[in-house]
Symmetry: C2
Subunit: 314 residues, 2 copies
């Protein structure tokens, strides 16, 4: 099956308690498509960069089998640039610089060769841009998944709700789920969000793992829940891109499965969690770029061990 | 196998966004022993109450097969009383009243009939009192588990470390694990805490579940990790006693298993989590007092569904 990935391709400059980088390759579209490529060959990227974006970075994408026909290169603008600094508690970060540049005027164009794709992953972007991609597709994909953030809830809620009504899977963090729904308890938040359009909700909880809410495969009208832990890590070098990596692993695995079911989504959440555990081990895309099937297989095995228990005899 | 439970038996007055109680039955020893009784008959309680403690409350304990020979009744003092108020985010609570009363001068006495027990659960109490119980045992139990809290780290660290050096399992929350070890990342916190005495560490994370660190059953010197989620709840009526209930389910299940291994402990963590999910559904001990094997079996089944996934085919 084929997969379209929409999301920023960017320069990031990152400072964490473990070090500091210059401008390196970043952006949601980058993390998602590189990660997805390990499961579904030839993810089709829709994004934009500027004249300052090095060819070597595009080569990196292509080396991961990513199709960049939908990656626009603006000759009169620079590439989106973000700089941030993480605190000792790496759940907290300060944004030092945000230069939207070419992303600020991004008008996504879906190439003809991308039509008839079955899976669409909308990385965190303006909900207007996300919707423009959906509207260009001549056939509705089998599954549309979408990431977003509190920024769009605060500044573009109406547009966000319009886009939400068109997607199947929403991927957000716990704080955002509470803000979007106005409900504190997550099962209630899920019920409210389902009324906005999505059939499935994934709630990312960082070091506490992720949860999946969605319709049962067997019982119509019954909502199932799945909880995946995060891998307990002895250190986190740089959390940038972990959420995007999660989304990439999730959608890449599903696209390769060709099947949309709660059961497959559970496994996809584990795959996403495993992939995210690699990303945080290095700065930016460093770790996620150099994986092989064996690394991934072993890491998923750690999740099996981490969660498996014998059912008690009572 | 036999189980000794040490912990406060108290009056609690609780206010949450869902309601308010007068003085009701509470205390770590109460929650632990009632919960453990569903798995291991005749838990042996060591505690103290005052002249104002109603006989009906002792009847409740005895109806759950709890042996109260070690429950001292002080004729010149009142029962420990705690009053607290929870915020909308029920992870935050204000203590309104703490009257130590009989607990302030508690000198635990282990009855002869309690000797030769194989399991000992030390509920959160002064580490001096906890140690006095260990020192009265003529034969070292097969397993000693201990709960404690930041209060003792702040006020009695030396005594806490002495008691810690005698126990096998430490049960604390994530913030306390970080404080005790001085390490932010939990696997590193576990390694530091193992050097203080315990062989196993359980880290309670409230709505995010619990983690177990301990030695592999098969590979000497290798630390294993297990992560259990909490049940996603649509409401929490009153979190009081959830941690004690967890400890009660954990130790009760293990005592009944008669076997101490990482594999059995994983299941015991799930049992503890399942039992804690009942406690928060009502005020105080209301819910945990009225369970039967069927309720418990069904609830544990929910944890199996919540965590089970098909290993991905790559």
């Amino acid at each position: 099956m084929s997969l379209i990935v929409v999301g920023s391709v960017a320069f990031d400059a990152i400072e964490t308690p473990f070090g500091k980088t210059d401008k390196i390759l970043g952006g949601a579209g980058t993390f998602i498509s590189i990660t997805a490529s390990y499961f579904e060959k030839n993810p089709k990227l829709v994004s934009v960069v500027g004249y300052d974006f090095p060819k070597e970075y595009i080569d990196i994408l292509n080396q991961h089998s990513i199709i960049t026909e939908g990656l626009q290169i603006k000759t009169d603008e620079k590439t989106f640039f973000w700089a941030g600094k993480y605190h000792t508690d790496m759940n907290i970060r300060d944004t030092l610089i945000t230069e939207l540049n070419s992303l600020g005027t991004f008008n996504p164009i879906v190439p003809d060769s991308y039509q008839n794709s079955d899976f669409l992953m909308l990385g965190n972007l303006s909900p207007v841009v996300q919707r423009k991609v959906i509207e260009q597709l001549k056939r509705k994909p089998k599954l549309i998944a979408m990431d977003t953030m509190n920024f769009w809830m605060n500044t573009a809620m109406d547009e966000l709700l319009k886009t939400l009504s068109l997607v199947d899977v929403l991927i957000i963090n716990d704080e955002e789920a509470r803000q979007l729904s106005g409900e504190y308890f997550l099962p209630l938040a899920a019920e409210k969000i389902f009324k906005m359009g999505p059939k499935y909700l994934i709630i990312k909880k960082g070091e506490h793992g992720a949860m999946l809410f969605g319709p049962s495969d067997s019982l119509f009208d019954k909502t199932e829940v799945f909880a995946a832990p995060a891998l307990p890590l002895s250190t986190v070098c740089d959390p940038t891109g972990a959420g995007d990596t999660f989304a990439g692993g999730f959608i890449g695995y599903l696209a390769n499965c060709k099947e949309v079911s709660f059961e497959k989504m559970k496994t996809a959440v584990i795959v996403g969690s495993a992939m995210a555990s690699f990303t945080v081990e290095g700065f930016g895309t460093t770790k996620i770029r150099e994986l092989n099937q064996m690394n991934i297989f072993e890491r998923i095995g750690q999740f099996v061990k981490l969660t498996h228990f014998e059912t008690p005899q009572l």
